[in-house]
Assembly symmetry: C2
Homo-oligomer: 684 residues x 2
């Protein structure tokens, strides 16, 4: 056997769906040497996932890639509930708000998965200078073996994971179902088997091109049938349950007299249940309960499930309203079930993310979101570990933080799916079946979870807070379970430890422009110290804020620096001129509450808040005000962040925007900041 | 002499600056066969114009190309005035609002001209299906002769304009000044001569490639030294005056302790006057009075004007504040003067637009804006004439409407420049020189003009209003001077006849999404009937609105239809599915004021407001509400448009968004609508 060609890479990503692409985006922004391979011949062009929850949009926006989603997607603002009346005719029983108002600048939105895959690819390209070749998805490539050199697993400079990759021909990479029948919507459904085995079969005996990759880290983002998961062994198997219920999905341009067709709508009829998701491009997605088929007998008769069959069920549920269509963009069917794994990583060298480690029903629009959020959690940790900025053991917090979410997800989905599939009441007073009232209540109480904003990470070195009643940190190395810093949550009551820092509008001191504070905290690998300085027109408070600035100026140079890529500040437009040197891993932002015109940025405020560069002069983009402008109603950001204007607060943020520390501007604030960072960077 | 190759085209545009590109964008959206040539080797990369006024941003947004300007540009929100105190030291005398709040969703912004040229090019590409070659700028091409076949001038099917084009080599197309001295910032200034003659000289005796183009229309957008204008003859010469004052301009990244460096700032010091324009990318543009040079003796000594010389003047004016720089992006100098021509067109076959027909000083940020607005006014008229939708004589309204603006512009600029160059007062009480107070007042009273929102077009067939005291329509054919329709302005007091229709937010009936009404009125060639239907929950008012709908359904099919391009609805995202047939040249939008939940779009409202398509079903994007949502404060659009909720109003809009008709929903409204359109389309 001839020797295979061999290359080294920091991170190898298997799978270029939303989870894999999010990870690739993060790593491209951090300048980490990455490859990403996918078995498909091209990105998805229709169908699949479509729901964007508000936290996902915030995350995408932190990379500058949410704008196009937000523009092209359909926004679901209100939700409508329809049930049979006493005569069995469906009628609207309620219409209400779909996303909690004020939770975010975004609302739940829908757009087909192929568009976001394109936006990710464009966002990755923007990470590179125009004269460099950007990271690109290598398509029609599958892994065929994976080994970890366990002896080298803890060596930070080692490349202990060895993967063999096979480059397929186009014919090999095309799923057999696609070859035999182009209209088979089942081939990507969970009713179908994986297609990798078939690809390997077809590639046997051909001129297969193989290569060997040695990686520091490998991440399996390869979906519900994950090859990576299977390769890691039996203890990585997902567990859970399936129900017998089968649902059909169709993306159509409807021709209908149903009045709520452009609202998210739940219909529960005697003929079954149906959900309308109004989509971009005049389309709607219909989730349709298929009462006539069942997985009860073990396997489903797939030949029975055709678009015609699914659509007839939809028509019955819509009755007496008419439903027709001319265009069908995509269709599939699936069996409801919820499964997750016990392990998200092997030796902190091979990781699983997204559907590879949790699957569930699609109706709550969670899959793509939780998947992207998995790799958003993982990306900065792997990236900063590759750059030797973070100790490797911090990678253990990935499983801790995301396994809890996966468990919450399948618990939620199990409950939500059952509610949805319950027999509809004749009227909302009837106790048989799930009452409409119960369903509506469940829907609304689930919103904090489904938006993704409710995520609350556990106490670790990354989040300096007290343990909940059930710490659930058994798997975590002792050194990580608790930060040596101590937070004072009451100083910033709406900057909740372990939760994402919210965004409100603040005014830039230097030019009176209003900014979403999130836009000044982009995902570029930097931790943040947000100093809510309070009313610094009061001399005592100004002295306190400037004393902290002086301390930061002496402390921060002791921490690592980080090189920034061209897209590291995506909301400020083109960055043309270069600064003297790489900035600190910790970025400092001041938000004060003094009258704007009483503050002179250069004279009144310590240089830590407007650093000087010998070529670019002072930085005018680090000091913001909660106050008034000529153009907009006051935002009252301090009130919304839950910070007092007298004392202020310091909020420490992780690179993913989660709150890790809340402490004093004065007092022992500096000491707590130092403890928090030393606990993260300088553990021996 | 061998025969030259010959091609036919609807429109030939000479010059690919902002005026030419705006015209090319319009014509690409209308599907008109166009060529655009430019003598330069590439688009502008730095310097030149930088100011975007709010009306320009609205216009760019109507094509979907404002988003990137709005994102990348620096927004100028407040303006600061500095004058010497009694000791002669400059101090801030006032800081106030820069753009009138509430005037528009945009504010004045600055970004270098090269970026908008790129956005235009991208916007043109979006007009074409992906399998068609888009209109592209042909660079290094200059016209060498132009002739009009006057006998064929009024034949709508003729191509009576013949232009010979020369394709230059790269060396020929490079200005001589650039060849001799890369750092000569004067070469594009009005202190330099035109460079076309030099290009022609250098191309003599070479293998010059010439071709002949026969066009229906030719538009000269070729700048202050316009070859097109010169070729049209002596009566097209621009007239006006120049002052002796010379100003320098520098785009630098400043290093300074001046506190207002990120605000638009006017400094008047004993050493001279200076204006700060804070720019994108940490830059500022400085306009610097050069007291030591003058055009008094006829010609200026250009060798004296260097960046060092200009910058020293700036430092003197900034004193006692320090000013240094490391990066200089661009510099130039110019002599203040104002000139315009008497004729904007020859035989309505060859037109002039932009700097080709008006020049002035750059400080008020008007040049690029008025230029783009010239060709925005012209584009739909030429385009619809090429498609035989509009009678050719409507083209006469271009000169009528834009010559007035040009005259207002140079009058404004003459006054503004003089004020600005006036000696500064020792303090604002002193009567010597221009008092600070006078200057501030002049600045603020000029805002309606400088924003571009104050434009008020004269009565013609396009604008059904009574003549002002001075009708100034001498040049106009009789048939055009007055619409046979009669408006009732009082029905919609803030939809002013002859002015741009403002944009406020309304809620889409079908899905509760809030939209800027402008986003539903894109520049795609269509006229609009905006029906403010009032409270249609009242049966009588609903009947009135639906009677108008029934009438529109029978009348509109008598008018022409128009094919729409892929980018014709740029704010609704990707348009994937095709409608049955081309829509009417008149688009109908309903904005009602009934409680949203009391209206069923399909049942309560006539089909004219939600047209049916056999493949796409009902159109859910034509009915909007002024009311409440769960997410935002009510906009009170009716109040802002000045329309009563009882009676409502009908507002007729031209394809460029200017109000041409205000009439009744009931009464003789339908009759007036018919008269207005018949007066435009069906004159014999």
């Amino acid at each position: 056997m001839t020797e295979l060609p061999e290359t080294k890479v920091d991170v190898l990503i298997i799978g270029a769906g939303p989870a894999g692409l999010m990870l690739a985006l993060w790593l491209s922004r951090l300048g980490v040497k990455t490859r990403i391979v996918d078995k498909r011949t091209a990105k998805v062009y229709s169908g699949q996932a479509d729901g964007f929850q508000v936290r996902s949009l915030e995350i995408l926006d932190s990379f500058g890639v949410a704008e196009r989603v937000w523009k092209e997607a359909n926004r679901m603002l209100e939700v409508s509930f329809w049930n049979p009346d006493e005569n069995g005719t469906i009628q609207r029983s309620a219409k209400s708000v779909n996303t909690i108002p004020g939770l975010s600048r975004f609302t739940e939105s829908v757009l087909h998965q192929g568009r976001i895959e394109q936006f990710f690819i464009d966002g990755i390209r923007a990470s590179y200078p125009s004269n460099e070749t950007p990271l690109q998805v290598e398509r029609m490539v599958i892994p065929t073996s994976l080994e970890i050199d366990e002896a080298a697993a803890e060596d930070p400079d080692a490349h202990p994971v060895t993967v063999t990759l096979r480059h397929l021909t186009e014919e090999e990479a095309t799923p057999t179902q696609m070859l035999s029948n182009l209209s088979d919507g089942i081939f990507r459904s969970n009713l179908a088997e994986d297609d990798v085995a078939g690809m390997l079969d077809r590639s046997k005996g051909r001129e297969a091109r193989d290569e060997v990759v040695r990686a520091k880290y490998v991440v399996g983002c390869d979906g519900a049938h994950s090859w990576t998961r299977k390769t890691l062994g039996k203890e990585f198997e997902m567990k859970g349950e399936s129900t017998d219920a089968i649902w059909g999905v169709m993306d159509i341009v409807p021709i209908t007299d149903f009045p709520d067709i452009r609202f998210r709508t739940m219909i529960q009829n005697t003929a079954g249940a149906l959900m309308i998701i109004p989509r971009e491009n005049r389309m709607v997605r219909l989730y349709i309960q298929l009462k006539e088929v069942s997985a009860g007998g073990g396997r489903v008769d797939r030949s029975q499930i055709t678009p015609e069959f699914i659509f007839k069920s939809a028509q019955r549920i819509f009755s007496p309203y008419k439903l027709e269509y001319h265009y069908c963009d995509w269709w599939t069917a699936y069996q409801i079930g919820q499964r997750t794994g016990d392990h998200f990583s092997k030796l902190n060298r091979v990781f699983l993310a997204g559907d590879a480690v949790h699957t569930h029903s699609p109706k709550a629009g969670q899959g793509m979101n939780i998947s992207m959020q998995d790799s958003y959690n993982l990306g900065w940790k792997i990236g900063l570990a590759c750059k030797n900025i973070l100790p490797r053991d911090v990678l253990s917090t990935y499983e801790l933080e995301r396994k809890k979410i996966a468990k919450d997800l399948i618990a939620f989905d199990g409950k939500f799916s059952k509610l949805f599939t319950g027999a509809p009441p004749k009227d909302i007073q009837t106790e048989t079946g799930v009452s409409d009232d119960v369903f509506q209540k469940a829907f609304h109480t689930s919103r904090m979870f489904t938006t993704g904003v409710g995520v609350n990470y556990q106490p670790t070195v990354l989040v300096a807070k007290e343990a909940d009643t059930d710490p659930d940190t058994d798997d975590l190395p002792n050194i990580l379970v608790k930060s040596v810093a101590k937070s004072t949550q009451s100083l910033a009551t709406n900057c909740k430890l372990g939760q994402r820092f919210p965004s409100y509008k603040v005014i830039r001191q230097s030019d009176a422009r209003l900014w979403e504070l999130h836009h000044k905290l982009p995902s570029n690998g930097r931790f943040r110290i947000v100093v809510f300085g309070g009313d610094i027109s009061r001399p005592a408070q100004r002295d306190t804020v400037n004393a902290l600035g002086a301390w930061l100026s002496s402390y921060l140079p002791k921490l690592p620096t980080i090189a920034l890529c061209p897209a590291s500040d995506p909301h400020s437009g083109e960055i043309k001129f270069k600064t003297d040197e790489d900035p600190s891993i910790v970025d400092v932002v001041l938000v004060h509450a003094a009258p704007r015109d009483e503050i002179d940025l250069l004279k009144d405020v310590h240089e830590a808040y407007h650093p000087f560069d010998s070529k670019l002069g002072w930085d005018y983009d680090k000091v913001f005000v909660d106050g008034e402008t000529f153009y907009e109603e006051p935002e009252r950001a301090y009130e919304k962040y839950g910070v007092g204007k007298g004392e202020g607060a310091v909020v420490g943020l992780r690179p993913d925007g989660y709150v890790g520390l809340v402490t004093f501007v004065g007092g022992d604030g500096a000491k707590q900041i130092q403890k928090w960072f030393d606990g993260i960077f300088q553990r021996s």
